[in-house]
């Protein structure tokens, strides 16, 4: 299985995402924003960072970069796509996921090990978790406040499209504590926290032992055993 990671100008976590793919047992494929070639990958990750310096709006310029035309077309045909942090913002700006992300309500950048609850396991990226499982992965953002109008919010909740919810602490003022979303088909998932920073003991958030947390790995393993596409 080949999993692509797209690098945009200003991407930061593309290397970590490639590494997470490798640790999960897939072949990582580096993709470039200025190309129309997805190199035949079986799944795609849009990584975190500050594409185009967050100019215009977070993710807005990247959403209109050459490769995203291919990403949107492939996602609409069922290709698994995971957007992390800035990648989530890019998916929202590409209209692959609903709502919007605005500056944190407290006005400052926040970095913490964040507890989440997995709210939906019928997706390409969450099927290796238990429904309701609580996981801890790092969060780091300045503009992670999820918003949507009342009607959209009602639909997201009613249709079970919330993939992850913040537990204990809502770190950025997100409505309904929403940390991540899925699309109706379940092949596209986006979230603000960073699963790729919690894939190898010694380099993750604190768990039983210092930095031993690997709760993010299941996201990258999920896509290997994805049953969503065959549904």
């Amino acid at each position: 299985m080949r999993v692509g990671v797209i690098t945009f100008p200003g991407s930061l976590d593309d290397r970590d995402a490639l590494r997470a793919v490798r640790l999960a047992g897939a072949e990582p494929v580096a993709l470039w924003h200025d190309s129309h070639d997805l190199q035949g990958v079986d799944a795609l990750i849009i990584p975190g960072g500050f594409s185009y310096g967050d100019y215009l709006r977070c993710g807005a310029i990247a959403a209109h970069s050459p490769i995203m035309a291919e990403v949107v077309a492939a996602a609409n045909k069922g290709l698994p796509v995971l957007g992390i942090c800035n990648g989530f913002q890019i998916l929202v700006e590409s209209h692959l996921l609903d709502g919007g992300l605005i500056r944190n309500d407290h006005g400052t950048f926040i970095r913490r090990d964040q507890k989440l609850r997995v709210e939906n396991v019928d997706t390409a990226w969450t099927n290796r978790y238990e429904l309701g499982q609580e996981i801890t992965i790092p969060l780091k953002n300045g503009e992670g406040g999820f918003i949507a109008d009342e009607e959209t919010l009602k639909r997201l909740e009613g249709d079970g499209l919330v993939a992850f919810r913040y537990v204990d602490v809502n770190p950025n003022g997100s409505l309904n504590d929403i940390a991540g979303l899925r699309n109706a088909r379940g092949n596209v998932v986006g979230l603000m926290p960073h699963p790729e920073h919690a894939v190898e003991a010694g380099f993750g958030p604190d768990a039983e032992r210092m930095q031993s947390g690997t709760d993010g790995l299941a996201m990258f393993v999920s896509v290997l055993t994805d049953t969503v596409l065959s549904k």
């Binding site: 215009l56 919007g100 605005i102 500056r103 309500d105 918003i147 949507a148």
Partner: protein, 82 residues
């Protein structure tokens, strides 16, 4: 060459943390006359051709689809500069 000015504002219902922080700073001056600040964006788009109604309609599409995110922002003004 004509310049088209597009203005985009965060939606009224949304918290505008940058505007709130700026309001608090401005409120340190004066006698409490300032109650709120909202921060938007102004784009100055230069053309190499007259701003025909068709071209302005095209720019209105771009303002809606690229310069703003309709989930969080409104395009409040599109006009040709004097």
């Amino acid at each position: 060459m004509p310049t088209v000015i597009v203005e985009v504002m965060p939606k009224e219902v949304l918290l505008d943390p940058a505007g709130k922080a700026t309001a608090r700073a401005l409120q340190r001056f004066g006698d409490g006359e300032i109650t709120d600040v909202r921060i938007g964006k102004r784009f100055e788009i230069t053309l190499n051709t007259p701003a025909t109604p068709e071209l302005l309609a095209h720019i209105a599409d771009l303002a809606r689809d690229v310069l703003s995110n309709q989930v969080i922002e409104d395009v409040t003004s599109i006009r040709v500069a004097e």
